[in-house]
Structures are given as structure tokens and as C-alpha cells.
């Protein structure tokens, strides 16, 4: 068991595993999204206060969850890279950051489009929206830091330190924004009544799984690209069929 994990943690052995997993997660994401959208648009009833526009939550809430979840996962892999110097962990953290930033962007975009008809404004200083914006800055900071550092190993470790500091800070940031928000009686949106329709909840959960599967597929695909970039002069990379095909072609 332990030996297997050790073997898997080398980029060379994980590369084909990731390649085999990607189609399953991609197909899974597509099927789950189809079910989720059917639940969200076909089954769930119209909200009698907000009308149809609440249907944005089927992408807003999952992307917001994923944006936070992915940050924690990224920090986890970063910590492993920092603690044990495992190369694959650093690559994993590197692969997660752009998808996490995109999820944060989707959450902000959809939140603002939901807010316009609901609050009458695209942007409200709501605690969750504000925290999400700061989360986007944190993601962009990590991506920018990696861009600025040329050396991949230094980048792995520096980004790990930054993401760990970020993980400690995110709850504090959220709490502080909420604190500030209550003091100033800011806006906040809730669905009608305390109990959400079961079909709405089901749709949201299924869509969350769809986003989750999609993120895994996207991260693994990016991971494969990163492995190729960083192990470019390893013998096993030279032997890969896709690399040989690229060598045969022009350029």
C-alpha cells in the first residue's frame, strides 16, 4: 500500500494514470451537469419572490464552494511539497491554481448577475461576495508569484508558503468582512423561506458534483502539461508517443 503510493507520487508513473482518469471525470462531469440542469430548469419550480433568476444558484453556489475547496486542496499539496520535497505535489498545486481562479471568477460573475435583479445592483458589499473577491486576489497573487519566479522548485515552495498563509487568513478575512458587514447593515440574499425546495437543493448538489468532476479533469489535464514542461529532458518523456509525434512534425 505504502509502496504503491510512493510509486504513484513520481511524475513518471502518475502521468499515464492521470491520462487514464481524465476521460472518466470529463464524461462524469458532462452527465452530472445534464442531470443537474434538468433538475434545475425542468423540475425545480419558479421561486415566487425572485422568479426565474434564482436559477443562477445552480452554477453560483457550486462554483463558490469549489473556489474555496480548491484553495484548501492547493494549500494541502503545497504543504506536502514544502514538507517532503515531493515534485508531484508541487505540480499538483501549480495545476490547481488556474482552475481555482476560474471558479472564483465564475462565482463572482454569476453572483453579480444574480444580484442585479435581486438587489438592484451588480455589486453589493455582501460578506460572501467581498470574501470571494479577496479570494480571487489571493489566487491571482499565487499565479503571479509563480510567473515571476523562473525556477519551478523555488516557485513550488514559495507558492506553498503563500497559500498556507492564505489558508490561515481566509477564515479571518471572511469573519472580518462579515463583522464589518453587520456593523454597516449590508445587503444579503436569501431564498424564500427557510426551507429550500428539495428539488432546488438536489439540483445544486448534483451541479456541485459536476463542477467537482470537471475541476478534477481540468486539473489532471493541466498537470499532464506541467509534467511535460518540467520533466522535458527526462528519458521517459522522450519515449512518450505524443512527444515522439511532436518531434516528428514540423518545428
Amino acid at each position: 500500500m505504502a509502496f504503491n503510493w510512493f510509486k504513484l507520487s513520481s511524475p513518471a508513473s502518475f502521468y499515464p494514470v492521470a491520462g487514464a482518469l481524465i476521460p472518466w471525470f470529463a464524461i462524469g462531469a458532462a452527465i452530472l451537469a445534464a442531470i443537474g440542469l434538468w433538475l434545475g430548469f425542468g423540475v425545480a419550480p419558479t421561486d415566487f419572490q425572485q422568479g426565474e433568476v434564482y436559477r443562477i444558484i445552480f452554477i453560483h453556489v457550486p462554483s463558490a464552494w469549489l473556489s474555496m475547496f480548491l484553495y484548501v486542496v492547493m494549500a494541502f499539496w503545497g504543504a506536502l511539497a514544502l514538507g517532503f520535497g515531493t515534485r508531484l505535489s508541487g505540480m499538483m498545486a501549480q495545476a490547481i491554481a488556474p482552475t481555482g481562479a476560474l471558479m472564483t471568477f465564475i462565482a463572482l460573475w454569476t453572483g453579480s448577475l444574480w444580484g442585479r435583479p435581486t438587489w438592484g445592483t451588480y455589486w453589493a458589499w455582501d460578506a460572501r461576495m467581498t470574501s470571494e473577491l479577496i479570494l480571487l486576489f489571493l489566487y491571482l497573487g499565487i499565479i503571479a508569484l509563480r510567473q515571476a519566479i523562473g525556477d519551478p522548485r523555488r516557485a513550488d515552495r514559495a507558492c506553498a508558503v503563500l497559500s498556507i498563509v492564505g489558508v490561515v487568513n481566509i477564515p479571518i478575512i471572511y469573519f472580518s468582512v462579515k463583522w464589518w458587514n453587520t456593523l454597516h447593515q449590508g445587503a444579503s440574499v436569501k431564498l424564500t423561506g427557510s426551507s429550500m425546495e428539495t428539488t432546488m437543493l438536489a439540483g445544486m448538489l448534483v451541479m456541485s458534483f459536476a463542477f467537482w468532476f470537471y475541476s478534477i479533469a481540468a486539473v489532471l489535464a493541466r498537470l499532464r502539461a506541467i509534467v511535460l514542461e518540467r520533466e522535458r529532458d527526462a528519458a521517459w518523456v522522450a519515449g512518450l508517443p505524443e512527444v515522439r509525434a511532436a518531434a516528428g512534425g514540423p518545428g
Binding site: 515571476a148 503563500l162 498556507i164 498563509v165 479571518i172 456593523l183
Partner: protein
Amino acid sequence: MGGEALPTVAAATHATGDGAIAGVRWALARDLKLAFRSRAELGVQLLFYVIVVTLFPLATTPERNLLSTMGPGVLWVAALLASLLSLPRLFATDHADGTLEQIALSPYALEALVSGKILAHWLTTGLPVVLLAPLLGQQYYMEGESLTVLTTGLLIGTPILSLLGAIGAALTLGLRGGGGLLALLILPLYVPVLIFGAGAVDAVRAGLGATANLSLLGAGLALAVVGAPFAAAAAVRIALD
């Protein structure tokens, strides 16, 4: 000179025993001396703070009520920017002239040396900002308890800025676009400090009292004092690698 015995490892590591305090003291004394020798530079940074604070009423309105509402926020944002402006000095010069390598190879714990440097940074850049606050508060028609709470908040909060900033300064050592990158990395982390610090004055005005805000700021300082030197020291080692 020949024939002298080389010190053993044990003799040399003796320094790490009382290392933490001695390390803090070495870095503090040296950075304070260096800051004093280049005090003109510190003056310029302080002036930046004063000018930023002065610009806001000119950009908005000299109206008394509005300014006294904006005042704490403006002073805090200016303090954040002043801290940001001074942060590259913290490690960059040591990095450029090779001192940082010697610091990292010293038998003193790097965390202690880094703490000393952070303390010196706060004493030379953060403390002046705190001391100027009662004066600059006058521009914003702040007085009485508001002014006291603002200054107290800055006194507790500016060390957090130096502590968190040290992590960013160490992470961006020797990188292209260092200043802008540092701002992107560090300003989001400053958000809670800004909220609790500026919020303390609002709470006083709302009649809620500043105790809760200042206590939260104090808790933040405690957390930063414990955690930040380790993160900053780790970042220094990474930057040297």
C-alpha cells in the same frame, strides 16, 4: 597561527543556546543603526504617508462631517500603503549585498534574526506612522475618544502589517516587478487589519465601544507574532535556494 586547535562543533553551537534573544538583538541593533545612517530615506517614506493623507480631502470635499467619517479609513489605507512602500527595504538590500546568505548561515535561529529585523522595521516605519496619527487626525476633524482609539488601533495593527509584510517581502526577493507583485500578495492579507482597525473608530461613533475591535486586533497581533517569523524565515530560505 598554525597549530591552533579548531573549535569543536559543540563549542561553536554554544551560540544557539542563548540564540534566540541574541539573534533578535543582533538584527535589531544592526538594522536600527543602518536605518539611522540612512534616515533621509525613512523621512521620505513618512512624508509619503503625510501627503497621501492630505490628498484625500482635496480629492473629495473639506466638508466636516464627511471627513470625520472618512478619516479613520483614510489614515489606515495610507498606513497600509506606507508600510507597503517601506517593505522592500526589509530584505532586499541584504539580499543584494550577500548579507542575507550570512544571516541564513548564522548559528542563530533564522526566525530570531528575522524577528529582530521585523521589529526594527516596525520601529522605524510603523511607529512614526502611529505617532503622526493624532496630528493628521486633526485634518479630518477627529477628536477625543475617536482619535485615541484610532491611534491605539494603529499601535496594535501596524506591527501586524510589518509581520505579514515580511512574508511577502521575503517571497518576492529578487523577482521582476517586485513592488507591484508585493502589493498583490500582501494587500489582500491586510484586509482584516484594516477592517478591525478602522472599524474600531466606527464602533466608538456608533456607541458600541472599541473593545471588541481592539481585542480582535490584539488577537491578530498575537497570531502574527507567533506565525509570521516562521513563514518569513521559510520564505527567506526559499529565496536563497
